[in-house]
Homo-oligomer: 365 residues x 2
Amino acid sequence: MNLADCSSHSATARLLHFGSPGAIYLRRFVGSLHVGRCGSNPTHVKTLRLRSNPPKTLTVTAAMASEAELAASAKIIDGKMVAKEIRDEITTEVSRMKDAIGVVPGLAVMLIGERKDSATYVRNKKKACESVGINSFEVRLPEDSAETEVLKFISDFNDDPAVHGILVQLPLPKHMNEQNILNAVSIEKDVDGFHPLNIGRLAMRGREPSFVPCTPKGCIELLHRYGFQIKGKKAVVIGRSNIVGMPAALLLQREDATVTIVHSRTQNPEQIVKEADIVISAVGQPDMVRGTWLKPGAVVIDVGINPVEDATCPRGYRLVGDVCYEEARKVVSAITPVPGGVGPMTIAMLLSNTLTSAKRIHNFQ
Amino acid sequence: MNLADCSSHSATARLLHFGSPGAIYLRRFVGSLHVGRCGSNPTHVKTLRLRSNPPKTLTVTAAMASEAELAASAKIIDGKMVAKEIRDEITTEVSRMKDAIGVVPGLAVMLIGERKDSATYVRNKKKACESVGINSFEVRLPEDSAETEVLKFISDFNDDPAVHGILVQLPLPKHMNEQNILNAVSIEKDVDGFHPLNIGRLAMRGREPSFVPCTPKGCIELLHRYGFQIKGKKAVVIGRSNIVGMPAALLLQREDATVTIVHSRTQNPEQIVKEADIVISAVGQPDMVRGTWLKPGAVVIDVGINPVEDATCPRGYRLVGDVCYEEARKVVSAITPVPGGVGPMTIAMLLSNTLTSAKRIHNFQ
């Protein structure tokens, strides 16, 4: 690995800080930093035409790749670019709403305790709001706050007409009941989409959730914007967490895929993954999914963001996905990189959910 | 087919009348009566030891079957017998509760309109309640009732301490909004388990639904009582309805199976079903799943109850499942018959949910 690689991974580390509930979840799964690489070649990216309107063409960067290698490598699903596109669309809509009815969408973010990573996530969410013109409201409470105090703030935000989305940064201090606190957020302002009522509606045909959880929504949005067909396809979701795997499976199911969830108790996961046209992996195991696990031509969305030791990188580590990228890109037809794949989409979807909420509350089309 | 067969199917038709939401749903799926049989041999049943406590031995009926044929045929999962066992357990518990704290569980059933089948279902639910000592409360409203009137009754039942479960018989008259009405039932008394909050909790790890929908709960109960392992097994659910397929898949997932849902948009469903150790079918397509679709040794739970024309039967039709029973029993290790499989379990689970509700409300262990 050369320094250029490390630089890009260093950029990734910053992307990780655009923290999301998904990223928080993944942190719980990663073990100690590990050494070892599943592939040996540097990353290639090639031209890919998006099915957005108007179609856009990505920049080609194919340093160190021969034409033959390029032909054999997968399309890169550029989450960073799509997220930017979505944020631009949100900026336009926020402005249009403000001009038309004088309402600016507002997101309230609560941070309890002094975790540095959580503070960074909250700061980045605030920055992201500012960048698209959404108001942000921040409450910081000390680690030893009472649960009742947190609930009081949530109750106030529930009643506040300037607030259209409420997000409680996780994890909470240990003495607090996460379920109680998340359930206190009004279903109309649950922009995280984690309320069981939202999840129930997501699972049920003929029902519509108020909000779809941000990370899985970002995965599906990537498939949509790149024009990959979901209907009738075999999809495998690796991981069954409440905030990524399970809702991702429900979303794919809603789009008429034939969905299988692979998890820690699954026997021969590689055989099941091998049959999938679409793979969404969200387990937080670095390079777990090898090239041999993947069906030729499959589309891979890698939600994992896992630090692995790398002395050649300035920070001493680099970030990799759940899927061994170097092996996978030789087999599949398209794949999200880590970083720059799903990561940037999560916060874009949070902004999107906040805008949706404001539009719904004010009946603005 | 001889008359003896028809007699048993006639008995089945009565079982269908022990209607359940599942049965109602299935009625929507069945097309016109059709002619034709997937298999040719009469049904065999053989001895099967249950893993209940104490183990019980089923009666053997093997008329017209050679020893060799018997050896090649599947175990019969006797839902009728298990349902009776469960109802006996409920009777004991209801009596114990009454003696200890003077509380009798109560189920309120609402019937709106004059549908004969719905009236039969409601009557049978009432009878089932009586048979185990549960109080039943019945409200019948005319077809042209106002939605507000129905909502008023639901509200009263929600507040009534003698009522621990509320069931609104579906389908409702067309001018009523089913979603509004079902959502009005208190989550604490939603013994059908159809509330999206219940479904959300069912989908989420670490959450517990107040109630599990009766038909899928009955399917899993059969697997449990016969001692079939679910954890780590490949399970396929055919059908994705809100009241059977989808919650059945969520239940299997909670039990650590690797679950795939097959539906109308699935390509090559037979290939996917063929890999399953456990198959739950709930599509309402007579004899759709052929013997060739099934993995040798699989366990099959057939939720379908489909009428097919049969001039040799007194009623002119007989009932069959989604799975071609005659072919399947030569391939799989165990299978539910239709009738006498899942059908009797649904109403047993409704009684079980009502008892659970009363125990929870009165904090009775």
